[in-house]
């Protein structure tokens, strides 16, 4: 893309080979003002060798071990290990340099060869922050695509696991890798993913979530339509379900396509737990999602529109706790929800230690003071706290954010029309969810099952020996099943 210009400048293959110094000069010219570009002439025993590399991507030690030392001692070895590009032109050399390779130019032989010396400082494999689990593997993806690929390939030792690389981002030239298992993946899905990636026209990618959003079918929806995970075990299980996984360099997430709504409520830990525990937890997470968007709106409708709904005892305590509050319930709830939102945001922006303090200040001081000042009722404080906690239940942070937003729709509709408004909003939510698609697959599967066996691994998780079937969400190819898995 950006290199194509240089082609136009007249450096075709033939000319460059004929006139190498011109090419070298051209490279120098292109890398002008790239301060970390290093051109180094090394005098070996018999000739002058020029090496070119970007020092920011390459560790000195690696460079020395793989290039300089062999160059000085055993040149033949280096030539064997180095790749000699078939076509030498300025764009391929430049892209090779930006990828972190070292170009070794033998002036006498007039030969360009590239040595892979890419060794940027990487963060080591650490535990996942946002998707931590108690049991199960702890490793999580890092910012390095190489490492991430190795984490997956370590788990699926099968040549049918393919990864196709693409470069996206007109300015950043970010590398993405599309992973799938051949013969299990649905080719339709694969083509759709590839088409979408190829069609992307966007300037830069800092994180894979941007890519996920660009690939969505319904971009106006408040819901995330692709699951982004940083857990290799999650990626592995999705791959063997026949889904396509996209990974990106410099991004700790991997996008799973297609995803289902219920998938956002499943944690890989479920499968490591007993099925009874997992079922219980999944129920809590799933119904917790609906509860968190319904709880405070229900408070509003009960108090401002349908006081007859509550039993006398409940109403009495509500009535008493609200007796000093001067606002209507909607304002009260909005105020309190926004306070929680502010606390949450403030807590997440602050350094960890201060963040904890904010939690205590917010929870105890503001809460109690607000009740004593007569700004809100203490029952509402409890409800808001519960719904805030419930909103953190989905293992996916994206879904928990979605629930936060959707809750305001419910609060407003409950404020206007009470339970009726709430149900209208609920109908909207349900209709919206039912008609969302993720890569063309209905988002609500397996709540509406694509296959009956999906129900064994939905809100209820059947014991593990029942889970032999692939999930229907990816409409995986069903012809080729287990026995072929061990070809090799």
């Amino acid at each position: 893309m950006s290199f194509s210009e240089s082609d136009k400048n007249g450096f075709s293959n033939e000319t460059s080979i004929q006139n190498d110094n011109v090419l070298l000069d051209a490279i120098k010219n292109k890398l002008n003002e790239v301060e970390d570009a290093v051109f180094k002439n090394i005098q070996t025993a018999d000739e002058l060798v020029t090496i070119i590399y970007l020092s920011s991507l390459i560790e000195k030690l690696t460079l020395h071990r793989t290039v300089i030392a062999p160059l000085l001692t055993n040149k033949e070895d280096l030539l064997k290990s180095a790749e000699v590009p078939e076509k030498v032109n300025i764009s391929s050399i430049l892209s090779s340099i930006t990828e972190g390779n070292t170009i070794v130019y033998f002036q006498s032989k007039n030969l360009f060869s590239t040595v892979n010396t890419y060794s940027p400082p990487t963060s080591s494999i650490a535990n996942s922050d946002t998707e931590s689990t108690v049991s199960g593997p702890r490793d999580a993806f890092t910012e390095s695509l190489q490492t991430n690929l190795s984490l997956v390939k370590r788990r699926i030792q099968n040549t049918r696991l393919k990864n196709r690389d693409y470069i996206i981002g007109t300015e950043t030239n970010t590398k993405v890798s599309v992973l799938y298992i051949e013969k299990i993946v649905n080719d339709n899905n694969l083509t759709k993913v590839i088409n979408k990636i190829e069609a992307i026209d966007y300037r830069g990618f800092n994180d894979i979530t941007i890519l996920a959003q660009l690939m969505e079918d319904h971009q106006f929806s408040p819901f995330p339509q692709y699951q982004v995970t940083e857990r290799p075990d999650m990626v592995t299980s999705s791959l063997i379900d026949g889904r396509v996984v996209i990974m990106m360099n410099n991004s700790i997430g991997a996008v799973i396509c297609p995803s289902s709504f219920l998938g956002f409520f499943m944690s890989p830990e479920d499968y490591y737990n007993r099925w009874t525990t997992a079922t219980l937890l999944r129920c809590i997470r799933f119904f917790g999602f609906f509860l968190t968007i319904m709880l405070t709106p229900f408070y509003i409708s009960a108090l401002s529109h349908h006081p007859e709904m509550l039993p006398y005892e409940v109403l009495k305590s509500l009535y008493e706790s609200r007796s000093r509050v001067p606002f209507p319930p909607v304002i009260e709830v909005l105020f309190m929800e926004l306070v929680i939102e502010v606390l949450r945001e403030a807590g997440s922006r602050m350094p960890t230690k201060i963040g904890q303090t904010i939690g205590i200040v917010g929870g105890i001081v503001i809460g109690t003071a607000a009740v004593e000042a007569g700004l809100v009722s203490n029952i509402l404080i409890v409800l808001v706290a519960i719904s805030a906690l419930l909103s953190f239940l989905p293992p996916s942070y994206k879904m928990s954010n979605a629930s936060r937003f959707v809750r305001y729709i419910f609060i407003l509709s409950a404020g206007f029309f009470g339970l009726y408004g709430q149900m209208i909003a609920f109908a909207w939510l349900i209709y919206h969810l039912v008609n969302l698609t993720s890569l063309g697959t209905p988002f609500m599967s397996p709540v509406i099952p694509r296959k009956w066996t999906d129900l064994l691994d939905s809100i209820v998780l059947a014991p593990t020996s029942f889970l032999k079937h692939k999930k229907g969400v990816a409409s995986a190819e069903s012809k080729k099943v287990l026995p072929e898995n061990r070809e090799e």
Binding site: S304, H306, E308, Y312, L315, L318, Y319, R322, S323, P328
Partner: protein
């Protein structure tokens, strides 16, 4: 552009709606939630209505507010109360409606019941009761042991084991019994004691007017005949001249089978009651560890209960009411429209064959 116009239209529409809508005023704190209402008799077309509104402790020190108005139309009364209370009166939390005995005898309870039945904001599970003397006094009275009269009345009229002789008439029950052609309704009858209120007996109604009260025991048998499975504890005194026996039986399970001979000309109803209960207290000469004595006691009780049921049925016949609805057993097989006349005919001419079978399950854990 089209989209823009559409959204502009939408937003303006929402805006106008949002602005023209009057402020939602049905919020709890703007309402006076009536919890109990009492009706007293003044004259044929005027009624004295007392409304009891529990107050939140934050608002004032008084726990309940009471307003009394004399009115001919109920809704007028509420308007009047609203103007006194300063807040709008809401009936959505109404729990209890009390009628004074005088009103129940002279006025028409059905008119008031139907008024509330029609109102969609009033639930159908509110309880009705008749009060001895003035109903107003119950709501206005101060009982040292009762902190909130409304909660107390609500709890008192909830079905419970030891008071299950009472019919616990809800609004629906009353309307249902009054409007169907086969049975008559009944209501608990409250009496104000020194510092408490108790369900003293049960009143029978016919056509919205109170007729007579029946004792707790008799009412318990009425409930048994209606098919209630768990009866209230029963005290029985077997008095046969020389040896007097007193019993207290609890946890009575009841199974009743009623059959009619389907004939309107010579109606007959056979009633078989099977009771099971545990004997909790016994005062008498029998040695209950002996099988024959125990069997004899069972037989005596059965006979005694049988006689009481017969007496009850005779009393009901004299009053010309049928709270059980025996006529239903004839209506089931009658082709055509059933009407009150047929029910009256049945009540007057029906012949009851009662058989009671009382099983004592145990005599407690002590021998």
């Amino acid at each position: 552009m089209k989209r823009f116009i559409f959204f502009a239209f939408l937003i303006s529409l929402l805006g106008t709606v949002g602005c023209t809508q009057k402020k939602p005023s049905s919020s709890v704190e703007d309402l006076s939630m009536v919890s109990s209402i009492a009706f007293d008799y003044i004259s044929e077309d005027e009624v004295r209505m007392t409304v009891s509104i529990p107050q939140s402790t934050g608002d004032s020190q008084e726990i309940t507010q009471n307003y009394t108005v004399n009115t001919s139309l109920i809704q007028d009364g509420f308007t009047e109360v609203s103007s006194q209370a300063g807040k709008m009166i809401a009936l959505s939390q109404l729990r209890t409606i009390l009628f004074s005995e005088e009103y129940a005898r002279k006025g028409d309870v059905t008119v008031i019941a139907k008024h509330f039945y029609r109102d969609a904001t009033v639930g159908n599970n509110i309880h009705l009761a008749v009060v001895k003397d003035k109903a107003e006094d119950i709501l206005k009275g101060s009982f040292p042991n009762i902190p909130s009269i409304n909660t107390y009345l609500h709890d008192l009229l909830q079905p419970k084991m030891h008071t299950s002789f009472s019919p616990f008439t809800t609004l629906h029950d009353f309307i249902n019994a009054e409007t169907n052609t086969v049975s008559h309704s009944s209501m608990p009858y409250l009496e104000k004691k020194e510092d408490s209120i108790k369900i003293a007996s049960v009143t029978l109604f016919d056509g919205g007017k109170m007729l007579e009260t029946v004792s707790r025991k008799q009412s318990s048998f009425i409930q048994a005949l209606k098919g209630l499975d768990k009866l209230a504890p029963l005290d029985i005194t077997l008095d046969k001249g020389s040896d007097k026996e007193e019993l207290h039986i609890e946890l009575i399970e009841n199974k009743v089978k009623i059959r009619s001979n389907k004939s309107l000309d010579s109606p007959q109803v056979s009633i078989r009651i099977k009771l099971q209960g545990s004997l909790v207290e016994y005062k008498g000469n029998k040695d209950l560890s002996k099988d024959e004595d125990f069997a004899k006691l069972q037989k005596d009780i059965s006979k005694h209960v049988e006689q009481e049921v017969k007496d009850l049925l005779e009393k009901l016949r004299k009053l010309e009411v049928d709270p059980v609805g025996f006529s239903e057993y004839f209506r089931m097989y009658y082709k055509g429209k059933w009407n009150e006349k047929l029910t009256e005919k049945i009540i007057a001419s029906v012949e009851y064959n009662v058989s009671v079978d009382f099983d004592l399950l145990n005599t407690g854990i002590l021998k």
